[in-house]
């Protein structure tokens, strides 16, 4: 087969495979019920910015602000990065957003403070009410000034950049109404709190009080210069009522009261008198007195718990007393164990208890339970500790791998888990391999098994596997093991062999292979090549073989040219001799001898080299016969 023909044929076969695929796909597609969704390339969409859309965004934001939906306002503001805004407007829009965010904070705080102030007034906490009202009013004022800035400065700036104000007019009015109502509420509360009323003054000779201990308090009540007698004065420590005295002559009162157990360093005592319409007395609040709360000389006694394993719970118990042994009730004792902190309140007898659990990740060794009292105070803190011992069991992990694994197939790994000689069931086993991470669980005998798919693209001779095991029992230490896997990729053998075979074939077919056959092979088919000859049979030519074949080819060519015989490719030597004999009797004899000599050379086991010379003489005769 000619080279060009062969290349064309091979290309046609390769092309045929692709045509089959394409045609097959086309036929398959004929039954498709619908087209793909008609969507366009986003790159072809022209970027656009709608200023009206930004106005509507502000309308939504301001409306929510006006409706008091502060969380929604925050959420809307946080979504601003997703709003399509023109770069030229962006900076001003960010300014508007910061103003709205500031108003959102101020308004919400103002509402909270003013509402709480109103509640404090109802609870007769006028001092607190006054402070809250003042704070609320400041916040309301801040919201008002920011809103004014937004309306008078930012909004016109946005309008000048093409963002119309009209679409957010509704939201703006809602916000304005909200801010205005806050201002009104603020003024109302301040007026209520500043109304002239009775004057209540309290005093004490002490500056410190032992917690739960006595305090001497005096009170003086008057209205517009006239003393008020027979009125109850109610005393509060840090807002909690703890006793009262009744004013006597001159509107004065004196009493010794016991404060409740307080465990903060500062105690604030205030007093109020209730409304008494019969004498025209409005509710009034006193000044406040600050006292240092003393709880010096406390001590904690902790019982040492038994030894417990990780994840197991235990109870720690103790008591809190003064140095002299007086129990401190209702005190909060801080219990710290590892990174966990909890609080336990003391009973009326000063006892406390806490249930603790040893953490899963607790390291081996001694662990301490710390109990601390009054961590906020400056006086009388006390602490103590107990200890437990934490211990984990070591995990023994075995990893068995095959001696040789084939890439492209699965390889089985297995192993066993034991701790303290006992199988560990239900453990999570993770195998990290170059081909992914795989997971399984150990069975009831502590065994595990995994089939790892070794990638066909794995050409490395060895790879490492690492097994990490997490036992379900926290008191067993997680373990791991590593092992190397020997690998063989069949493609290393198959692909080169296949490639070499195909390459050799192509080179041979295309005539690019170094010639191994007879030198005359190239032109033999023109003149009737012996059927035996084939590329695979070719051997290195010798001088003798070249001589006889040269004589043979010359004889055949001469017969073809002179007698006009067209020898077919499949013609045998006998047929050639027959053809020559028909056309030219005298020339047939030497031609026949040349043919038979060539035949003997080709097919006999032995060949006399002297016959080559005789064949050459016969060729000379032929040339003489056919020279005319």
């Amino acid at each position: 087969m000619k080279r060009t023909n062969q290349i064309v044929a091979e290309s046609a076969i390769i092309g045929f495979l692709f045509v089959l695929t394409v045609v097959g796909g086309s036929f398959e597609g004929l039954s498709r019920p619908a087209e793909w969704a008609v969507v366009s390339n986003p790159d072809s969409v022209a970027a656009s910015h709608d200023s009206n859309a930004l106005s509507l965004y502000y309308n939504n934001t301001l409306s929510l602000l006006g409706e008091g939906k502060f969380a929604n306002v925050s959420q809307l503001l946080s979504s601003f990065p997703f709003v399509n805004v023109s770069p030229s407007v962006n900076q001003t829009a960010l300014t508007a957003n910061s103003e709205i965010a500031a108003m959102n904070v101020s308004i919400s705080k103002a509402i909270l403070n003013l509402t709480t102030a109103g509640q404090q007034i109802l609870a007769h906490e006028l001092v607190n009410a006054s402070a809250l009202a003042k704070t609320g009013c400041i916040q309301a004022g801040a919201a008002s000034s920011i809103f004014t800035e937004f309306v008078n400065s930012t909004s016109p700036a946005l309008a000048s950049l093409g963002v119309p104000a009209q679409p957010y007019a509704v939201g703006k009015e809602l916000a304005r109404t909200e801010i205005s109502s806050l201002g009104s509420e603020c003024q109302s509360l301040l007026a209520l709190l500043s109304r002239p009323n009775a004057n209540l003054t309290i005093s004490s000779s002490q500056s410190a009080i032992a917690t739960g201990g006595p305090v001497s308090l005096g009170a003086s009540l008057s209205k517009q210069g006239a003393s008020l007698s027979g009125q109850s004065v109610l005393f509060y420590l840090n807002g909690s009522y703890f006793g009262k005295v009744v004013t006597g002559a001159g509107g004065r009162a004196q009493g010794n009261l016991s404060i409740p157990f307080a465990y903060k360093p500062l105690g604030v005592i205030t007093a109020t008198v209730s409304t008494n319409d019969s004498i025209g007395l409005q509710e009034a609040a006193s000044n406040s007195l600050d006292f240092a709360i003393l709880f010096t000389g406390t001590k904690i006694v902790l019982g040492d718990p038994s030894v417990f394993l990780p994840t197991f719970g235990f109870t720690v118990r103790g008591s809190l007393t003064t140095a002299s042994g007086t129990p401190l009730p209702g005190a909060s004792v801080k219990i710290a164990f590892f990174n966990e902190t909890s609080y336990a309140n003391t009973s009326p007898a000063g006892a406390f208890a806490a249930n603790l659990t040893v953490p899963v990740n607790a390291p081996d060794g001694v662990a301490y339970v710390n109990a601390t009292f009054a961590p906020q105070g400056v006086y009388g803190p006390s602490k103590n500790f107990a200890s437990i011992e934490v211990a984990h069991l070591p995990l023994k992990v075995t990893l068995d791998v095959p001696k040789l694994s084939l890439a492209g197939f699965t390889t089985n790994v297995s192993g066993k888990l034991t701790a303290n000689g006992t199988a560990v069931p239900g453990a999570t086993v993770r195998v990290a391999s170059p081909w992914g991470e795989f997971q399984t669980q150990s069975d009831s005998a502590g065994r595990y098994f995994l089939a790892l798919p070794v990638s066909i693209s794995e050409f490395a001779p060895t790879q490492n596997l690492r097994v990490s095991v997490t036992p379900p029992q926290a008191y067993i230490v997680p373990g791991q093991a590593t092992a190397g896997v020997s690998l063989l990729n069949p493609l290393i053998i198959i692909l080169p062999a296949l490639g070499a075979g195909v390459t050799a074939y192509e080179l041979e077919s295309l005539g690019l292979m170094p010639k191994l056959g007879r030198s005359a092979k190239k032109s033999d088919f023109e003149t009737g090549r012996p059927p035996l000859a084939s590329p695979g049979n070719s051997l290195a030519p010798t001088a003798n073989s070249s001589g006889i074949t040269l004589v043979y080819f010359q004889a055949v060519a001469l017969a073809s040219r002179r007698l006009g015989i067209n020898f077919g490719e499949s013609a045998t030597m006998r047929e050639m001799i027959g053809e020559v004999r028909k056309r030219d009797g005298p020339g047939a004899a030497p031609f026949s001898r040349i043919m038979l000599t060539t035949e003997d050379f080709l097919y006999s086991k032995e060949f006399d080299q002297a016959r080559v010379k005789l064949a050459e003489e016969n060729l000379t005769k032929l040339k003489e016969f056919w020279s005319g």
Partner: protein
Amino acid sequence: MVARRSVVLRSVIGSAILGVLLFIALVNLAPDATPYSPNNYGWNGVRNLTSHYRVQFINSLGGLKSQKAVLLIIQPVYSFSQNDAQDVYKFALDGGTVVLAGDSAASNSLLQAMSTGIAIRGQYGILDATYNWKGQTLPVTLVNQSAVTEFSFLAGLKGIAMDQPSPLIIAADSHAYPVALSSSLSFETARSSSLAVVAVIGSSPSVVARGPFVVAAAESIGSGTVIVLGDSQFFTNSLWNIADNNALMANLFSKVQVYVDTSHWQANTIASLKAGFATLYSQASAFPLRYLLTLAFVGVAVIILPVFAFGGPATSGVGEENKRPRTTYTAAILERVRKDRRKYGT
């Protein structure tokens, strides 16, 4: 004639081997422009997805490992059979995450067969002039923060960008949650007019309804989750790196096996061919077929290689002395020569 047949035979075998190798190489490496193709580097391909996560294209929904796995179904073209839907339902029931992104009728066939409370209104598209990443047809939808505690894949997300999404309907008595909604300023239009720009203020005849619309929903099934996105383009290269899309994909696909269904796409795409190869490889790797195939392969190679390497059947009659020209022959040819000599009397 024998030699000629041998050459043709070798040529056919060699060409077929080369053709198959070339075909496999092209399927795996050659870029293309097919939608959702892993080899498509253009706007509608999923090259970015496949290069960042462990993605496997599959052509059968049965027998998938559901632990730490996500089944991604993008814009199915063919409706789901009851068996297919059962396979997907079982996958979710056993702990897998099913992500369906599309607006086709076939998508609804799956959702209905799985008895979810979610339906896609594919005939409508959503426009948003305010929340978008380029124009009205490319909205950015806001993540429902109240659903974050229910679905961990929403952690850290605020907005996700989409391309002409369709609204979803959630049945009132279902357990499905809306996880992403378009803004209250968005519009719904019929698909036929979805590319027309709608005025933000005032009325427009093409506007069917105003937002917010649910564009993504999730429902827990067993120990797994079904997530539905009304956007067929969500996982394509064009929406990569926009808004919080990458974070969502990281939440969904990191450290898990991602299966992409090709069995409901048009056949013979690069993706489906890849899926076919993967299935073939998987089946061939199964015991005991893998050993039989290996033996067969080696056997075929042993038979074929001599054909290529030596050019034909083995010959006999090699000469015994190197110094003498060696003559090779076969018994059949010698017999023919003898017949010729008898016939012609020579």
